[in-house]
Symmetry: D2
Subunit: 412 residues, 4 copies
């Protein structure tokens, strides 16, 4: 649908102008939304109306606009966006436009141009010949690049409800431990099956992203997650040193942070297991090598390697080791995560505040996202930061993964 | 094992008295524990030792005591307990002994007498002819009844590890959402199967107590809990008005607090459903009648009625209605709960701070107890109050019940 | 403001009817809100508009309605409410109307009648000669009383923003531990001072309600709360046995649950202190007597007695004792709480899930309410139940009370 | 105190050997602890005792050992530690010894040598000429360096209670929101004053470390923390990009994450403020420059710059920007944190899971540590990882900082 915003001002109620304009729009085949009507409280006061006119084609919209302009309808001023060169590498012009994670267009020489891959809190850098626009993090901008400034000539599209009539289509506040979660897990599983089916039939390339923390291993969700990955339902994994280390500790020692997963008790000297695991993988050179050598035979990492899952392991100051695969520079890691996002059509953020918020910051608002944490503050924090498409589940990660795996066919 | 505590005092180290006494005990066939040895820091200072002597029979213990007494071993003074009459109904003597939930004996005319059904924070009332002792809540004592006072002539037995080598035999701090829970649920299910088997074979009368809150219904655990009850694994249910009302609301309307459990959205005017449900049951006279009339056909309440589960519904100031079965007086409700406890050999406290703490207060320390809540403060609160035998699980109630039901054979 | 809803239907856009009607309303001195406009998508389709007309007087509203009716404006059907007799004591007719906590009117013989003291989840009982209407809990209705049924002839007024431009005038979601709380406490203190000033000048009778749990005493908020009460800022107190018992335990023993409040360590046999406290007060007959006798000289209860604060102590199944002032029957306690509410113009619900939710259920939506708890689930639960006027603060009760007391002038 | 462990074996009870040995120790001026006594259950069975002998000087200990050896007292076998060369850079030998955060000595050529700056989960690298030992992270070890392996010749000293009789001297489980916190804050303030006094009098160099998260700014604790720093009570600050960015956002815009800290509401386009702040500081080159230029005039960062506080800002994948001072490589940041720790005698970890756990990992067990978080899981997590000297406070960071500042003399 093409649309244009017009405004009417003056004695448009008693003069019947508003009525005539609305009638004209409908008569010519358009539709309208009266987004704002301010009626003067006294007879002599002017009134004001803002009308959003939609039409199936640009041509018809132009006809409507021409027809109603004699009634005083003013097409809301459209201006091109402004740009200024970056004053230095990594420094934006003072008045730079800060992006949202919603679909965004900028107006350049009279045309509205899509800015691909929307992400919040970036800048928009344009190139002129040929014209292109992209969202760029502050730190990556180069001196002299043209950065969009101010707010003119930029438009942002509100999030549309997804076509599927599932849980992501309803925006009820979901962050409560006193809400049923079954239908949410069923909807998530259905999406995962659909994406997998499309990929198998080579009709789709939609990917599922999983970002998770080490509590998955500690709390007993490892087996279910490994199954989900082996079955081909996950295509991108974001995690830290700890998830990978404890997963492989479980593979080598049967423990997680020295806690025996089978019998549920601490093991003597078990707190060293993750260090010995990390040291061993460092000696082998990479997780992939450890799996290929048969040192790591089962678990989350083994499944990822076997299934060709794209992994980004990001380092933090908490890390022991770290594992050789960990990207220790946070900006480099962020870039690697960003590079893995195109094509992601479902994101599962499980039991990691850091990865949930970091991934939420990178995701376009149009990507259905589920955030699972036993601490209700995590989904709330995500939503406070604007990722309102996130469905929050207040439950432990292990229960979530086991229920999800069962919906996907696991017999565990 | 019979035991006696004796003390030695004086220059027992350099005079070799301690060594001789210990040697004598072992020589005569007893064993000992040196529970306290205080050695004087200067040569002239006296030393002090407390020795717990154990022997297989009372006779042998007497022989040992007679043999070591010449060395100065003083049998720790054993005194009878003191009693005073209650000054008025519901009022205890000032110096009343406050009970713990551990096994307790009082000494009366030279004999140690068991006080049955230990419960914390009660008084001990004795009758003299014939002699009996029982734990009595403050409010139930009658004027003139003899109440144990002071601390003499009372002994309390530390909790012994259960014979079963399962999760209740290990007292590690379990209250963490980053601990695996699978082995705990497997152990709980094993106990439930064993108790059921014993009952079926008429060899046992051990009961399983379930105390729960309405979040079970809201969060989607209703189906699993109803199955567990129908399968005969629960024998006593403690709950409030809300769990029962929302369970039957689900039966009549398919909602819980107006939230459709199947599709996961609020239903128009759905918040009234629980009121209409309560009104309907009030009109029928009781939950049992509603089930027998076929008005309530499935769910937790229906299962309880069909299986003859002993139910205590306790009222609170939050209640709408309440349902006709609710005991609105808190002291009467507490008494009803207390009356249902004899025979309970496993307690599951799920998703209700009030019922978890209230039931924890009533339970003897020897009853294995699992406390499940998504808020870690609840198991912590229980343990702060002394119910250290409680295993805490930080997870949502629905996941707990679904996993438990599956372990017991549910195919849902 | 008086208002009436009217509807227009037909070719009201192209025929200019809508425009004429709106113009007429403004011309005659009324104002309008176009609450719904459905415009036919094809020219021949009829359109539909719902207009809310407001006028300063009933007379002017009648003039406007008479003037626009010739244009086809249909006054939305106004019907009297329906009533049916209650079939038995404590049983409502099947189709009873369940109330909300918003301002409510019912239409009886053509007149809209206020139903005083709105409270959610009750029924409306009417008396005919003379006519009166009141909200009645299910359990209190008597056989044959006329109960309003269905939804006709009932109207509910949306909550208006308070005149004061303070925190209660903004309905932003406030339940987060990552939000500043200072301005909220300042606004609450300002309201408390204003209410107190009005009472002193005998110009107002507005009361402040405080409902709280024992964590106030455990966590160190006792001193500040006692000061606030002594200073005359609280007029109604809702609590349970535990808050009162631990407050007086602190007065008699310096401990709370046996934990020394000054030095921060457990005291030997300290867990018995609350039992001995309760027993002592039972012997004296009442809290008031204990204060008057000088047994309890300081703290929350002493302040309440001295200041004539209206106290309702409600019992639960967790209670030891209980204290002689505790109302053990939950329905009787609820009635006592309800009876204390008229005149309450500010409610502080602190550190008690039970009292927060129970009080929230009883309060009219127009009473500004602050809910303070360290567990974010409590304010969320309150808002899930419809008490959307509640401002939630995620902080510990002691810090809240100390900051509030300082704003009110405490030098502690 | 110097000590040595000796063992006695044989018929030490009936032969009176044990008694004689104990007597000798005391007679010569030593003290002992009987850490293990196993008495044979039959007369012919040998018994066994382990005795820890303490003496004020090495000489006296040698005298005692020589005197009791004729009784059969065997000095527990002392072996030198084992070492192996690291097989490659960043790779430890398989059987490397993993350190704890307790005082540690290794035995080399018959002498016990201190390993300075204990930290958990590192390796011990020794140099031979001259001999030295230090704890080294896995990633920093170089090929061929000698790494301690196995468990022989290593001893670890249990944590001693601090001499001060304050909250850090009592190891009660403190992680509860239902515990008073006043005495803890008073003790912390007393330590801070003592450290400051010693530094002023040039008698001490003890430092206070503060590690915190951005919730401090969001929740309103900024003013108090800035005062504490300006007053000279903090000497090292660990934080991330967010705390610094939001602090300076508050300085430049009066908001935190776009939320006006004064009036408590979101500000239009306010979510961009932190980006504009970061961009501005990037343009200036550093936080220090921004303060020196007068761009940032008040707040936490300004106070740190003015007071010469040693700051380590560590990056994460959540960061926007980041600020020019942020160390984006996690290993480099960890090294910078480690380098700032010598001399730290008090650590405050406030409102940041990441920084609390990361700092807890780096701290020696002997450093008194307070962990403050509104989520009880954070102090619990710290204690799960072995930092048992951490006192946990479950409260919001703003209340903690305001109370602490008041104890230190703030008038806010």
């Amino acid at each position: 649908m093409i649309f244009q915003i017009v405004t009417l001002h003056g004695h448009i109620i008693d003069s019947l102008i508003l009525a005539k304009v609305l009638d004209t729009i409908v008569m010519l085949g358009g539709t309208f939304t009266l987004s704002e009507v301010t009626v003067g409280t006294k007879r002599e006061d002017p009134s004001h109306a803002t009308i959003r006119i939609e039409a199936p084609t640009t041509e018809l919209l132009q006809v409507i606009l021409r027809t109603i302009q004699p009634h005083g309808a003013v097409v809301e001023a459209e201006q091109n966006c402004m740009v200024m060169p970056a004053p230095a590498d990594g420094i934006l012009p003072d008045d730079f436009y800060a992006t949202s994670h919603l679909g965004t267009q900028i107006r350049w020489q009279g045309n509205w141009i899509d800015v691909p891959q929307p992400e919040m809190d970036l800048s928009i850098v344009v190139k002129t010949t040929p014209f292109s626009a992209r969202m760029v993090p502050m730190g990556s901008v180069k001196k002299g690049e043209l950065v969009v400034t101010g707010r003119k000539g930029i438009r942002v599209f509100p999030l549309e409800r997804p076509k599927e009539r599932d849980v992501f289509g309803f925006m009820e506040a979901q962050v409560s431990s006193e809400r049923p979660y079954r239908h949410i897990i069923i909807d998530v599983a259905r999406r995962m099956k659909t994406l997998q089916q499309s990929r198998k039939e080579s009709q789709g390339t939609g990917k599922v992203l999983f970002a998770g923390g080490p509590a998955i291993v500690h709390a007993g969700g490892r087996e279910a997650l490994a199954w989900i990955i082996e079955a081909g339902y996950i295509h991108v994994l974001f995690c830290g040193n700890a998830l990978a280390a404890h997963d492989m500790e479980a593979s080598l020692y049967g423990t997680s942070l020295g806690y025996n997963l089978g019998i549920g008790h601490s093991v003597r000297h078990g707190h060293e297991h993750h260090l010995r695991t990390i040291n061993r993988i460092r000696a082998l050179g990479s997780i992939q090598q450890a799996v290929e050598d048969g040192v790591i035979q089962e678990g989350i990492m083994a499944a990822c390697v076997r299934q060709g899952v794209q992994m980004v392991l990001a380092g933090t100051i908490r890390d022991d080791g770290p594992l050789p695969d960990v990207i220790t520079d946070s900006i480099t890691a962020q870039e690697a995560m960003r590079a893995a996002l195109p094509g992601v059509e479902l994101a599962l953020l499980v039991a990691s505040t850091l990865h949930a918020v970091a991934t939420g910051n990178l995701l376009s608002a149009s990507v259905p996202t589920v955030c699972v944490d036993i601490n209700p503050a995590v989904p709330t924090k995500l939503s406070d930061r604007g990722s309102f498409q996130a469905v929050g589940l207040v439950m432990d990660s292990s229960s979530f993964l086991r229920e999800l795996a069962r919906e996907l066919g696991w017999k565990g």
